[in-house]
Amino acid sequence: MSTDDESFHPLGEEWEDELETMLDDTEYDSDLGMEMAQDAMRVTKGELSEAEFHERYHEDVMEEFGEDERPTKEAYEAAQEEAKGTVSNMLNAFDGDDGETRRETMKKMGVGAAAVGVGAFGAASNGPEQSVTAAEEGHGPRQETTEESDTQWGMTIDLERCDGCLSCMTACSEENDLDQGVNWMYVMAWEDENHHGQEGSEYDVYTDFNMGSDFNMLVRPCQHCTDAPCEKVCPTTARHTRDKDGLVLTDYDVCIGCRYCQVACPYGVNYFQWDEPDVAYEDIDGLEDPDNPDQITHAEYEHGERWVDSRAPRGTMSKCTMCPSMQDGKQGEDKVGTSACESACPPGAIQFGNVKDERSDPSQHREHPVKSRAIVHLTNSTDSTKTAPSADQINSALSEGDDLQTAIDQIEGLTVDILAIMKSIEMVSEGTEPGDEENNSILSAEQDILSAVEAFQQYVDLETEEAYSELGLGDGSEQQAHFRLEQYTGDPSSFQLLEDVGTNPNVTYLGQEPGPEAQQVEGPTKYEDVGLLDERQEYLDEGTVGRIDGVSL
């Protein structure tokens, strides 16, 4: 492009001429088109606001086309707030916004079409959005047709925090009215050649964090796989993935009881209802006042409801559901994003939530295991001897001019150790705030700790060399803080069960992965001691007609 080129279009005069010829071929006013295109270029350069552009041409456009699909001033301003920059960026900002379909967005962004070039003007009879769509194709972030939910319920389970108390199993049984031996949630201790229970354990020393556990644990709910083999093999579609949140569920009204899902599941999470369930349908109870069991047993779908929750009726397959009645808000808003087992777990080893949301508990626990472990441990009052004080506690206990040791002594339960961990959390924290859609307990607990540290620092400066050394934080770098946390919680590896089978499970584990030859051993709590039946066959054998004791294939 030469400097004396007077064209307004960046591609030069020749291009403009070509476009003008194209405009001449249409039934519309070429001069108006060229004029608009010229000003549209000014809009892109920021010389002219889009609102001004719109006002300048609104009447002409109405006269020429009889309609003007470009945005009103208000819509424009709303869009402007969403995103600043090129048309493409603005469209991207709208993309995925649930409130508006992409097409609507396009219509509103008609002004952008003009800015792209006069080509859009020639196609105006089809509405200006068409050419923008064309321009977007290929490098757009996502096609309209691949609508994927941004919710996927799942878990991160900390096996080193699990103490095998089986509370989750009993809570699950009660929540879902399960028969004896139907252990949707199953907790086991295991050993293999590299991981013995008693001697040679990773923890030779008792710490408050590891609770001196001698057991390698495995917590096995349904993995709610993204590529669930059970769903693939189902001859009826009874076993399905709920679109809106990725839960893998069984429609008890459709299941024919062929048990192929149980056959195909590599984890063994399915339990068939071989006889009439112990709890009658009318007695299923999950709400405070369930006048209708449907409320608990039926989950919400795009089109109506399906019977997928709680214990299965006779002759159909059941397994862990991840509590859809809770996720649907039927048990109250505060239970959305929680599950019966998670709520029951004393050490907070089970973290349930939307694994696609980086702010959720499972994501935080998976991505920042060290920090999250420390947070859970310091704020989980039910099963921890160490508790972080709240900002209020600090404010009421401390006064100006306290030195570090005095301050610590003045707050009940606070130790140098706890304060050091709190400070370390603050140092490594990115300050991400919890979302408001679901229960982001780790991030809200983190916020509590951050404000407690902030409160503390109003009275005592923790960022001095002296304080750092007293808290064992070395030079006070983030790395040192991380190291301090690791000392406290360990740095667990993470894994998913049977990753090589290709099921893409939505449960992630922190801790030791059982090897291929791992075998279940007796755990710290016996199943029968908490009213559970481990080997269901013992019960099923009672119903077998003509059973010969002790004979097996």
Partner: protein, 450 residues
Amino acid sequence: MSTKTPSEEDILRPINTLTKKYFILYGVAALGLVAFLVAWAYQLQQGLIVTGLGDWGSGGGSTWGLYIGAFIWWVGVAHGGIILSAAVRLLNMDRYMPVARLAEMTTIGGLSAAGFYILVHMGRPDRMVTSVIGHYHITVNNSPLVWDVTVITAYFVLSATYLGLTLRYDISRLRDDLPDMFEPVYKILTLGYTEAEDKVIDRMVWWLAAAVIIMAPLLLHGGVIPWLFALLPAMPGWTGAIQGPMFLSIALMSAISGIMIISYAFRRAYDWDHIITDDIFRGLLLWLGFFTLLFLWFQLQTIINGVFLGPTNKAVAIEAKIAHPIYQVAMTMIFGTLVYIFLQGIRPALFSKRRALIASVIVLTGTLTEKILFVVEGFLHPTFDIYANTPGTYFPSAIEWLSLVGTTGLVALLFLNLSKLVPVVELHAIEHLRGDHEHGEEATEPEVEA
């Protein structure tokens, strides 16, 4: 071997006689079936808890058992039967023409028993239509169980058409000697028959036979049925490409044995020494030996692949398999039969019909045992075998055992009924044996084959 000349009268004998033995046999078969129907009703009332089945995994049971094992065994008998009959037609193995229709009827019987097992096995059989057919357009894309039902249905249609078409020739010619009682049935069977269609039917049947032979290994017992198991990645006892050929060899072994037993019974009951000759038994026995050899070869492949540096899960599953006493017994029985078959091939004096019958019974028992064990073993040694209660326990309940009696009764009843309705030996076969068949000149094939 016999000096008697085969006649129309011979093949009409089952239809036009009614003996005390027949009634006794009918009574026993009906009793077997009814006994199981009663047991099934009890199962429907109580739930599947009356079986010995359970949940694999923490539950310590076996999800599938005798019902599915017997299901694939009956499907195998059925598929082998129709393959045999198709081979007779396609390859002009005229020597076996007298048992071709028995093979086709075995297919119908086997498929009926297998279909019945599908219902018996389910927790909610009442939903078969709404749940399975209602979602067919979706599930047929994924579920091997739906492929299975699809292909079995296709084969049922194929086999029934095959049988129906070949019956037209016989019934129209023998009509005068058939009982008037069944007149409406014959009318329907021979609807619009003219002699001009014989040639067309011949060609149609040939094409049907070709379809059976081509589809059997690719889709049916070499495909869809083994895929039910072989495609599941986390059950090393099942996984693997060998299952296709393995299943097909078992199907053919079972079918040949089944047909030998049924042929033996008919020959004995109706003095058909000159129709179902010793020569047919000798030939069938050699074919049985051939497929038994293939079966043992595939077993060997499976075992060596698992125990010699196999991956952990596979090694565990295979080592458990070969250590299982029932597996050892079944394989010994089958291997022993193979030895006998080879010996009598070398020294024909060792052959007798009774021994052939015993060989057949042994092979059928062996394959049924292998099938049930195969199904259960998948659950005993899964890849994820961390559970203390895995391997679990399973032994079929009285009701499950009774299902074998019931389905055998069902198939026996089918033969007993059909033998009173239509000739179980083709008219073509008689014509061929007499040498007055139009394709008579083709009967010059070698006497001993395989």
